[in-house]
C-alpha cells in the first residue's frame, strides 16, 4: 500500500470496464477518478491533476488519440504519464499512440488487469518518464 494515495484517472466509456478497473485500482490502494468520454477526461485531468491517466481510444465526442494529443500540448498536463488501454490492436494505432507520447500501450483482450497494474506501478515509480 502506498503511503500517500496516488491518483489515477480512468477515461473509459464502457461502464463495465470502467468499473472493473476502478474497483481493481481501489483494491490496490489508489485514489481513482473516472470520466466516460474524452471531453470530460480532459477537464478532469486539468482540474484534479492525476499521477497517471489510463486512456481508452474508442471514445465518444473526442477520440482517445486526440485526448492524448491535447494532454501533451497542455503544459499543465503534459507531465502526466498516459497509459493507453484499448481494444484496438492494430500496429499503426500503437505507433501513433507511442509517438504522441504515451507511456505505454495495452490491448485489453491481450493483457490481464494484474499485468497492467504492475506496469502502472512501474510508470508511477519512474515519475512519468515514458518506459517503452
Amino acid at each position: 500500500m502506498p503511503e500517500k494515495k496516488e491518483k489515477i484517472l480512468i477515461i473509459e466509456d464502457e461502464e463495465s470496464m470502467r468499473e472493473v478497473i476502478k474497483t481493481r485500482l481501489e483494491q490496490e490502494g489508489y485514489q481513482v477518478e473516472t470520466a466516460s468520454h474524452g471531453k470530460g477526461g480532459l477537464e478532469k485531468a486539468k482540474t484534479s491533476q492525476p499521477d497517471l491517466i489510463l486512456l481508452d481510444l474508442l471514445l465518444p465526442k473526442i477520440g482517445g488519440l486526440q485526448v492524448l494529443e491535447k494532454l501533451k500540448e497542455d503544459a499543465s498536463t503534459n507531465q502526466i504519464p498516459v497509459v493507453i488501454y484499448s481494444q484496438l490492436s492494430d500496429q499503426d494505432k500503437i505507433d501513433k499512440g507511442m509517438k504522441l507520447g504515451a507511456a505505454g500501450y495495452f490491448v485489453k483482450a491481450e493483457s490481464d488487469l494484474d499485468g497492467v497494474i504492475q506496469s502502472i506501478k512501474g510508470y508511477l515509480k519512474m515519475g512519468g518518464i515514458a518506459g517503452i
Binding site: 463495465s16 470496464m17 465518444p60 465526442k61 481494444q87 484496438l88 490481464d112
Partner: protein, 724 residues
C-alpha cells in the same frame, strides 16, 4: 545425176537455216545453181498480209533491187496473187505476159523468159508464206524434173520457214514471259518493301531506288506535295549537269501542276539530290522524259519522273511498268490506310466501351485517344482536349508529365496507387504502348489507365469499420465480462456486497446485449441468404403493443423520459404476423428511441389503421398521432389496408442524408461511437428485413435535434387471404 545431187545439197542447206535471211540466201543460190537464171523470193509482210515484199533475188540487172519489190495481193488475175492464194505451182511459157508482175516485168524483159512460180508453203499446209519465182533464159522450157525440183524446194523452204517462224514465235513469247517474270519479281519485291510502309516519301524512295533494274535513265525523281511546299527528290543514276536537273525539275513541276491543279513555281520547290554528283563537264541535255502521277486513295499526291540524256528512250512499255509500280504502291497504301482506319475504329469502340478511363499519348506526348469515361472522371467538358488540358486537371504533385516521359523513354510502367480527383479515388496506371515490328520492339507512346477504386475503397473502409465494430461491440463486452468475473473471483471483491451486485448486474447486462447482437448477426446472415423466415399466425396486435409498452416503461423512466402510448380504438382484433418478430421490431425501435432521446424527452408508441387510397397523413392526424411525416413519402401513397405502427421521440434526430443509410448494415456504428451509445447498426437492418418479410413498409421522418418518427406497416390483406 548431177542435178539430183545438187537438189539434195540444196535441200540439206535449207534445213540448216535458222533465220529467214539465211534461208532465202540458200534458196536463191541453190535455185540459181540448178539452172534457174532468175530467182526472186517474195513473202507476205508481218504487218500486212495483203502485200508481198521482195526478200531477195538473183540474175536481175544492177539497178533493180529485189528487196524493194512490193506487190499487192488482189483476187484478180495477177499471177503472184494467184499462186500465193491458191498455193499451187504455175508455169508460164515464154512470150506470154502475165498480169501482176508490176515492177518486175518492166525491169527485166520477162516476156523473153519462161517463168515458174511456186508458193512458199509446206506440203499439205494451208499457210503460204510467200512466192518464189524462177525463170529460164532463152525461151527454154522447164523439164519435168526441173519443175518437180522447184516445187519440192519451194515446199521444203516453206517447211523451214514455218519452223523458223515457230521458233521465233516461241522465242518472242519466252522473252515476253521472261520480261513479265522479271517485272513480277520486281513488283513483288517492291510490294514487300512497301509492305506496311505508310510513309509516302519512303515508298517513293523505295520505288525510285528499284527502278534502275527495269528502266534505263540518267535520273529519276519523285515530287511530293507537302503543306506549303513541294519536295523534289532526285536520284542521279549518271552524272549530269545542273541544266539537266533544272529542266527535269521544270518539266516535273508542269506535270505536277497539271495533275494536282496547283500553281507551284520553282521557288516553292525544295530540292534533294542523291546518287552520283552533278558534273558541269557533262554537256548532254535532257532528251527523254516521262512521268506518272502518284495516287494514294484516289487522290494525287505527287509525280514520279524518269529522264535521260538519250533520245527516244521511253515508249509505252516503260510507261506501263512505271504505272504498274505506282499503282501497286498506291493500292498497297490505300489498303493499308483502310485497314488502319478500320482498326482504329475498332480500337476506338473498344476503348470507348471500357469501364476504366483511358488516355493514350504518342511518343511526342500528343494526345491520341481519350475515352468518355476518362473525360467524365476528370470532369473535362471538351470532347477533344489537349494533353495540357488533361494534365491541368490532375494534381500537380503527381508529376504525370515526367512519368509519361519516363514510360516512353524507358518502356517501364508506373503505378499511382491511390489519388483522389473530384471526390473519386483513382488508381492510375501508366504503361508504355509497344508494338512489335521486324526491327524489334518499338515504343509508340504511353497509355494512362484511370481505374476508379472509390467503391473498392468504400468497401474496404466498411470492412475496416466492421472489424472495429466487432472489436467494440463483441470483444469489449466479452473482455469486460471476463475481467468482471476475474474480479469477482477475488474474495475481497465479493465481500463488498455493493460491488458484488454491481458486477453481477453488469455481467447480466453485457451478456444480454451480446446475445441480442449475436441474434442480429444471425438474422442478417439469414436475410442475406434469403432464409429469414417468419411464421405468421393470427395475433392480437394491441396485446403485443401493450406488452412492449410495459416492458420498456422501466427503462424509459430510468432514463428520465416520458413514455406514452396512443393506440387507435379502430385497430383490428387480430392480424396475421409473427409475434416474436414483431416484438423484435418493436424492441429495436423503442430501445433506439430511448437510447437517443436526452433526459426529459418523450417517447410515444402509436398505432392506427390505414385504408387503401386514403391519405395516411390525414388518417394519422385524425387518430391524433404524433407524426413527423411529410406529404412526400411516396412509399406510403400506394399502401394496401394496413396497421401502421409508429414510434416518435424527441431525440437527437437524424440528418436527411443519413435517413436512408440507417437501415443499411453497420451504418449506425459510426453514429453510435460518436454518441457514446452502443449499437452495431445491425438492429435497424434486421428490423427492415422482418417488416419486408411481412410485406410491409418501414421508414423514418426526422428533424435533427427535434426528434424522429420511425414507422412500419403490416398489411391486412394477408389476413383475408389466409382466412379464405
Amino acid at each position: 545425176m548431177e542435178q539430183t545431187r545438187r537438189f539434195a545439197k540444196i535441200c540439206a542447206s535449207l534445213s540448216s537455216a535458222s533465220q529467214e535471211e539465211r534461208l532465202f540466201d540458200y534458196l536463191i543460190e541453190g535455185l540459181h545453181d540448178l539452172g534457174f537464171s532468175l530467182v526472186l523470193v517474195l513473202t507476205s509482210t508481218s504487218e500486212d498480209d495483203n502485200r508481198l515484199q521482195g526478200r531477195g533475188g538473183l540474175g536481175f540487172e544492177e539497178e533493180f533491187s529485189p528487196q524493194q519489190v512490193q506487190v499487192n495481193i488482189t483476187h484478180g488475175e495477177d499471177i503472184l496473187s494467184k499462186v500465193y492464194l491458191s498455193g499451187r505451182l504455175v508455169v508460164v511459157p515464154p512470150h506470154q505476159s502475165p498480169e501482176g508482175l508490176g515492177d518486175i516485168k518492166t525491169s527485166v524483159r520477162l516476156q523473153d523468159y519462161s517463168l515458174i512460180l511456186a508458193p512458199l508453203s509446206r506440203k499439205g499446209s494451208d499457210k503460204t508464206y510467200g512466192v518464189i519465182l524462177g525463170s529460164k533464159k532463152n525461151q527454154e522450157e522447164f523439164t519435168e524434173e526441173q519443175k518437180a525440183f522447184f516445187h519440192t524446194i519451194a515446199q521444203q523452204a516453206g517447211l523451214i520457214l514455218e519452223k523458223i517462224h515457230l521458233q521465233q514465235n516461241i522465242q518472242e513469247r519466252s522473252q515476253q514471259l521472261q520480261h513479265r517474270i522479271y517485272e513480277l519479281t520486281i513488283l513483288q519485291e517492291l510490294s514487300q518493301r512497301i509492305g506496311y510502309e505508310l510513309n509516302i516519301e519512303r515508298i517513293a524512295t523505295i520505288i525510285v531506288n528499284s527502278l534502275s533494274k527495269l528502266l534505263e535513265f540518267s535520273a529519276v525523281s519523285y515530287t511530293l506535295v507537302k503543306p506549303n511546299r513541294v519536295i523534289f527528290s532526285c536520284h542521279l543514276e549518271k552524272m549530269v549537269n545542273r541544266d539537266f536537273v533544272d529542266s527535269m525539275k521544270e518539266k516535273t513541276l508542269d506535270s505536277l501542276n497539271t495533275v494536282m491543279g496547283t500553281k507551284y513555281e520553282t521557288k516553292d520547290v525544295e530540292e534533294v539530290l542523291s546518287g552520283t554528283i552533278l558534273d558541269e563537264t557533262q554537256k548532254e541535255p535532257l532528251r527523254s522524259f516521262f512521268n506518272v502521277p502518284f495516287v494514294i486513295n484516289k487522290k494525287p499526291v505527287g509525280v514520279l519522273t524518269v529522264a535521260s540524256t538519250r533520245a527516244g528512250l521511253y515508249k509505252e512499255d516503260e510507261m506501263t511498268i512505271l504505272y504498274k509500280i505506282t499503282n501497286l504502291a498506291s493500292d498497297a497504301v490505300s489498303k493499308l490506310q483502310n485497314v488502319i482506319e478500320t482498326e482504329k475504329g475498332k480500337l476506338k469502340d473498344m476503348v470507348e466501351s471500357m469501364a476504366d478511363g483511358i488516355i493514350m499519348v504518342n511518343k511526342k506526348l500528343t494526345l491520341e485517344v481519350i475515352n468518355s469515361q476518362a473525360l467524365s472522371l476528370l470532369h473535362i467538358k471538351k470532347e477533344n482536349p489537349s494533353i495540357f488540358e488533361v494534365l491541368e486537371v490532375l494534381p500537380e504533385n503527381l508529376n504525370l508529365r515526367s512519368r509519361l516521359e519516363k514510360t516512353v523513354k524507358e518502356g517501364k510502367s508506373e503505378i499511382i496507387d491511390q489519388v483522389t480527383i473530384n471526390d473519386r479515388v483513382l488508381r492510375i496506371l501508366i504503361t508504355p504502348a509497344k508494338s512489335k515490328t521486324l526491327e524489334g520492339e518499338q515504343i509508340l507512346g504511353s497509355v494512362i489507365l484511370l481505374h476508379d477504386i472509390t467503391k473498392e475503397k468504400e468497401l474496404q473502409q466498411l470492412r475496416e469499420e466492421f472489424t472495429s465494430m466487432m472489436v467494440h461491440e463483441l470483444r469489449s463486452p466479452l473482455d469486460g465480462i471476463k475481467k468482471m468475473s476475474e474480479l469477482l473471483l477475488k474474495e475481497e471483491t465479493r465481500k463488498d456486497e455493493k460491488n458484488l451486485n454491481k458486477f453481477l448486474n453488469l455481467i447480466h447486462k453485457e451478456s444480454s446485449e451480446m446475445l441480442s447482437l449475436v441474434g442480429d448477426l444471425l438474422d442478417i446472415a439469414k436475410a442475406e441468404a434469403g432464409k429469414l423466415t417468419i411464421h405468421k399466425k393470427a395475433v392480437n396486435i394491441k396485446e403485443i403493443l401493450e406488452d412492449r409498452y410495459n416492458y420498456f416503461l422501466t427503462q424509459a423512466s430510468e432514463a428520465n423520459l416520458t413514455f406514452e402510448k396512443k393506440l387507435s380504438p379502430e385497430l383490428p382484433e387480430k392480424i396475421q404476423a409473427d409475434e416474436n418478430r414483431i416484438k423484435q421490431v418493436l424492441n429495436n425501435l423503442l430501445s433506439n428511441a430511448i437510447k437517443f432521446t436526452p433526459e426529459g424527452g418523450k417517447v410515444t408508441l402509436q398505432a392506427f389503421t390505414h385504408k387503401k387510397d386514403n391519405n395516411i397523413n390525414l388518417e394519422a392526424k385524425a387518430a391524433q398521432i404524433d407524426w413527423r411525416l411529410e406529404e412526400d413519402h411516396k412509399e406510403l401513397t400506394q399502401l394496401e389496408d394496413s396497421v401502421v405502427i409508429a414510434v416518435t421521440d424527441t431525440g437527437i434526430g437524424i440528418k436527411k442524408e443519413n435517413q436512408e443509410k440507417i437501415f443499411e448494415k453497420f451504418q449506425q456504428f459510426k453514429a453510435s461511437v460518436e454518441s457514446g451509445k452502443r449499437g452495431t447498426g445491425l438492429g435497424l437492418a434486421v428490423t427492415k428485413e422482418i417488416v419486408k418479410a411481412h410485406g410491409g413498409q418501414i421508414g423514418v421522418a426526422s428533424e435533427p435535434n427535434k426528434g424522429s418518427t420511425f414507422y412500419f406497416t403490416i398489411p391486412l390483406k394477408s389476413l383475408n387471404e389466409n382466412r379464405d
